[in-house]
Amino acid sequence: MPAVSKGDGMRGLAVFISDIRNCKSKEAEIKRINKELANIRSKFKGDKALDGYSKKKYVCKLLFIFLLGHDIDFGHMEAVNLLSSNRYTEKQIGYLFISVLVNSNSELIRLINNAIKNDLASRNPTFMGLALHCIANVGSREMAEAFAGEIPKILVAGDTMDSVKQSAALCLLRLYRTSPDFVPMGDWTSRVVHLLNDQHLGVVTAATSLITTLAQKNPEEFKTSVSLAVSRLSRIVTSASTDLQDYTYYFVPAPWLSVKLLRLLQCYPPPEDAAVRGRLTECLETILNKAQEPPKSKKVQHSNAKNAVLFEAISLIIHHDSEPNLLVRACNQLGQFLQHRETNLRYLALESMCTLASSEFSHEAVKTHIETVINALKTERDVSVRQRAVDLLYAMCDRSNAQQIVAEMLNYLETADYSIREEIVLKVAILAEKYAVDYTWYVDTILNLIRIAGDYVSEEVWYRVIQIVINRDDVQGYAAKTVFEALQAPACHENLVKVGGYILGEFGNLIAGDPRSSPLIQFNLLHSKFHLCSVPTRALLLSTYIKFVNLFPEIKTTIQDVLRSDSQLKNADVELQQRAVEYLRLSTIASTDILATVLEEMPPFPERESSILAKLKKKKGPGTVTDLEEIKKERNSDVNGGTESTAVNASTVSTPSPSADLLGLGAAPLTSSAPPPSSTGSLLVDVFSDSASVVAPLAPGSEDNFASPDLASSEVVSEEPADTVHDADELIHKFVCKNNGVLFENQLLQIGLKSEFRQNLGRMFIFYGNKTSTQFLNFTPTLIFNFFLLNNLSRLNLQTKPVDPTVDGGAQVQQVVNIECISDFMEAPILNIQFRYGGTFQNISVKLPITLNKFFQPTEMASQDFFQRWKQLSNPQQEMQNIFKAKHPMDTEITKAKIIGFGSALLEEVDPNPANFVGAGIIHTKTTQIGCLLRLEPNLQAQMYRLTLRTSKETVSQRLCELLSEQF
């Protein structure tokens, strides 16, 4: 045990710590701790009142145990008692315990707040300091509410001591970060700004932090701080290294304060006042000059502190982005650091240059360092530095150096660390697309990517190359030839098989004239990979084969033989089997014309933000992916140019039929008007039926291909903020317990719904209202219930009549959707609406709230019956339970209404506990009926619910539980 050096405290604590350290095993440690906990508990519970010292000691032991990683569930009260002690050390330990261990136990917070209030009012600076520290450490909203009004007063009061001022400033900063709403702006703000002139540099440092945080949200209020900060900074940078005494750190005058002042200035544009601006420029120049002076000390602390100020000054120069001279000097300085022997400086230089690359004044200057950066990529031993080098290459890339940078990145990819490969793949894919002047180069680059790092090529990347090939007819022939050649390799990555399969299925005909790539050779080549591929890829290849039947009638029989083989027709995988069966049938019975229509070449994709870019942004967080606008512009002009309007689907073409019997929905009106397809053959029926809701021609691929990822990232083209399908899950929840309402609304369009369901059938009226005074053209709503999706396989049948493609300003049109539930389903269908408004193309996707519970029929039953059935459904798979926090006030009547709205019967006097709710009903689908029982147990005290669903089918229990849990 080392001698405790100062302010000797608690021997008992030291003994305990020694004991713990001497424990030979984790078990022994736990045993010792449990013994101690029992001891402390008995002391706290004992009859004998503990004196302050013992309390302090035990609380301290508890704290130590907690810091070892064990849970502590008592002692809080004793710690709070210590707060009101008059002895400094007891108070101090009490506050420490609270700071480290407090939870939002409201009872306790009130007591703590009381103690804090007393200490703040004590006018004893040490006690005030402790109280302020405690507030800053806990920083909860309750504390903000109690003290946010008080602290500014302490901060600006004339008689407050400097040390208390410092604490008050940072305490307020902490509260402002978590609860800005409780911190009132007022007269005190101008007095805080003047703290920048304070004599005491510690006060200035703390105040600068506070002002910076406040100024970010209230720039107007703190505008006067700019000139004060500049003059303060100027005094510091021109001071001799000893002027500031203890605030000089290794010969650098007040480095922390300098950095903070430079940070504060980054909340504002360059100063308008010419004198202030001139003075600031002088400061920045002085800082840049000092970097060239010989160091005043060899210690790393000296150079670190000096360079900390320098980097912050460079950040400010980049932020202002207005003085070309300073920007170029900054760039040169960073260029020197790129080759510095200190790894830290090389890292920071690369990072800082990244932002410099986006300034038009310095972009060219940054580019001159390209060789150094490429060299860093090859020679740096630290992966985090190499990562910065990749980022910088990405940032400095433009048309002039794209080929070199992409080549270097591809080169590096061969040996790159696994942790950053995916990111590099995304970056290469984006650069290749953005700066492609020559599409053959683009296609080559992506195929190279797949070859080098196939495992790291995410779906977004290969979807994108296909989108681009489909949209650019001048590259299709080359793409077909290139993938054909790449597929010759004996071992090629599965992603290449996917791209190859898709592209040859669409454009194999463009190279079929060459006897070396005749239809049969193409087919045999692809089929040679078939057996090595995963199910989704094989599914995609089957679609390629059926496309070949249309492209190359001469190999139809070969393909039919393959489809007919047992390994296809009797495949254990239901998706593969179904495709084989249906494609075989399609190829046998359909005429050439029908085949040509169904298997027509894919139409161009609607233009949208590259999903790769979206993915990179997601990976790196917003803000790190720069010049998005530019990428968009460039892509518009070359890669995807002029393709936006054609992505219309052929699903809906006749006039709307006014349907009046919303409420008179017959028992089975659908079956008479349009016979629903049988469940096994639905794909074929859908394909042939002219009113079917199929989108576009048959795409060679499963849901893994296009429909879902593209819709999911439908951050579409228009100036309207994109409405992603994802957000629309909220909408789904809104409609779970009701059938009518507004589904979607933006500045242009409102979509309203009215619907009714009976047994397994339903009818939905969709109302599209044009909110503008301008016509919508090419107005095309499309329903997408992806029957390729395995889960959804023919589970819901949607039929609709199309609407008029022109919607006049202010007009409303309606569309009727007839719905049949074939079997239970999870996903809701998607409603995609495309139209032209003014000159722009609009694309909106929302989920249509057709959820499984809509096919509920209530069932009344007595208590006895209910529990008998409840017991019968006792298999663990049949039950689904969810315990969740109430999102809405727990009101009995509302809850009842929601359960009824959900579709089940609400059974009264069934549950022995009257506070619980039970319900029963039957889900009707065409194939089967599923009995469902539900029980909802509210716990008012905890504001929680427990919801239990029991049905005869696992997926149904799961889905109903998901849907209903969101309602309370």
């Binding site: 302010g7 405290g9 021997r11 008992g12 330990i93 040390s163 940072l170 703390a206």
Partner: protein, 157 residues
Amino acid sequence: MRFMLLFSRQGKLRLQKWYLATSDKEKKKMVRELMQVVLARKPKMCSFLEWRDLKVVYKRYASLYFCCAIEGQDNELITLELIHRYVELLDKYFGSVCELDIIFNFEKAYFILDEFLMGGEIQDTSKKSVLKAIEQADLLQEEDESPRSVLEEMGLA
């Protein structure tokens, strides 16, 4: 600054200070994850790394790692020196500080850190004023304490 951790080469956490409310579960997860990342790094590597959405600045002093998580716009180098200043403060207070001092006087390590940093921002950069505050507190402590018997200290009385 979001948080500061002190841990040993063996992965034992010696001190943790959080400047943003975080649940205990999340804290444990972050500590475990970050220790793993930092301990895996080699001596000559750079002191900064990106971790989750934060920047991590760390430095090793003898057997102890000092590790700060800061936000995107914060200055890495000045954070590195902030760590150094804290080490200097500990050193001055304990007199050539070692890991054991921090283990046995963890509460002092917290008090010193609290005098130096508050809400994740530096409160005073002057070594003198921080130490003065701590020494004043120690003086108060000594005045407080009356001598006690050894038995009492051991909790045996």
